[in-house]
Amino acid sequence: MTAVTAPVNGESRQRAPAPAARVRRRRRDRASWFVYPPLVLLAGIFLFPFYWMVKTSLLDLGSIFEPVPSLIPRNPSLQNFVTALTTFPFGRFFLNSLLVSSLTVVGTLLTASMCAFSFSRLRWRWRNRVFSVVLTGMMLPFFVVMIPQFIMWRRLGLTDGFTPLVAPAWFGGGVFNIFLLRQFFLGVPRDLDEAAILEGASYLRVFFQILLPLSKPVLIVVGLLTFLASWNDYLAPLIFITSEEKYTLMLGLNMFIGGYTAQWNYLMAATCAIVLPSLVIFLVAQKYLMEGIVMTGMKG
């Protein structure tokens, strides 16, 4: 029984508080000062390894470790970035990764939410049993299924391509995501759906025009996490891709590690470059996620 304003045209609107209430709210909602120190400290600690990574990418191999560690790199040089990104065709790798990750995100968002919709809001016999069975797919380390999957793709002649990497996303997109979406959907009141059905709407319409718009926060989260998982995935591309021109960024990264030697400084430089798109996507997603999207329910 929560107060709800039914979304019109799929948009949800924030209720504007009365002026007096607004002033009160502003003063009350401002966070207390003692929240800041721990946040600053934590932010610093969380960021420190990233800073170290950036610092390493500015140094040569022999300076990565010093008898006395220094915070500021002594002879920083951007040369590592230039060398790292030109030694291997990272431009090509970037496009490959972009293609794979975009297709993966789209497929996941679509099929995972479809399946979560079914498991949470539609009633059918065996629904819970099928969900439990499907859940087991989350419990397998990739190594275990890797070889049988590889043999299957090889029989289909689709190895050394992006299909093995993208296909699973269009078949439910990972049980983790279905599970997450399901949990969210379970918390959304069903009154809207039921009203729409009674008025003769198809389930497709209910799905696309009622449920999905209400689920923007969780969809953005799923999209973001899926993107990151795909962008940073190393194992699947390693197994399914052979030709260098189809390498993704992560595979390219590991080319800096040889059997006897490893160019850590180039590796870190290339990693910094790879992290940049992920960072951008996160900042964009964050903006939409937190921009006061308020979930509201139906009155009475």
Partner: protein
Amino acid sequence: MNGFGSARRREAAAGWLFAMPVILGWVIFVAGPVLVTVFLALTDYNVGGTPRFVGAENYRRFFTSADPSFFASVRATALYGLLSVPACIAVSFLLALLLNTKVRLRGLFRAALFVPVIIPLAASSVIWMWLFQPDFGVVNFVIRALGMSAPQWLASERTVIPTMVLMNVWLSGNSIVIFLAALQAVPRHLYEAVEVEGGNAWHKLVHITLPMVSPTIFFVVVTGFINALQAFVQPAIMTSDAYHAGGPNNASLLYVLFIYREAFRFSKLGSASAAAVLLFAVIAALTWFFFRFSRSFVYYEAGERT
């Protein structure tokens, strides 16, 4: 009545239809490979020759300690899971609460806490390994400067798992973001209702926040465990090399690393499959356990229970 019956049928049909992608996916990408694995678990297949049926021989080797590293691996993984999940949940929930307030520069703090997750795990494992190097790493340098005794972190069998747990907490940005989305979805008027009745922040937390967010907490706990039991990249990079996988005295030979080693270093796919089947069974049991007991402490707004 007719209308009611066909409405039900329509709903059931829609149910199946919408769930088709994952059902098909499960058959193709999960069931098939798992069947192969279950079969291989009973053989001594090592990729070169043909699989030869040996029955429960692989399991005998595990459980009679003919292979002592099996139990070492189970111990290490259990310890890691039991330490890592509560730590990550507690920290990420707390941080999500902190970030849900109207802190200035909230976006910046949020980004800072999430950055660890964006870095490819292999690269951050290497950095972590360097920072915690006992002789010349930054962390011990600071500790020594503060006058305390410097632990050995990844180099000692007593501290290697706690160090990896620490890294996992650093990587809980995923959970923070998920919790944040859940916190954001809690209707504001519920908090106002508590205020009107004279409640403070604590009441809000216990009576509104926790119940409303409980499905999400449940989700994060279950997936946290499943992921912890499958950790591979960190122990592989931080405590293994080309010849020895598993850390000081096998103290960080986490289970998936054990499977990897059996399969690809020793070329014993039969034995590795046997171990994988066990992992699968344990996770399935844990998940069933969680779902059973979730009914009693998870609240669903829509009145719908699992």
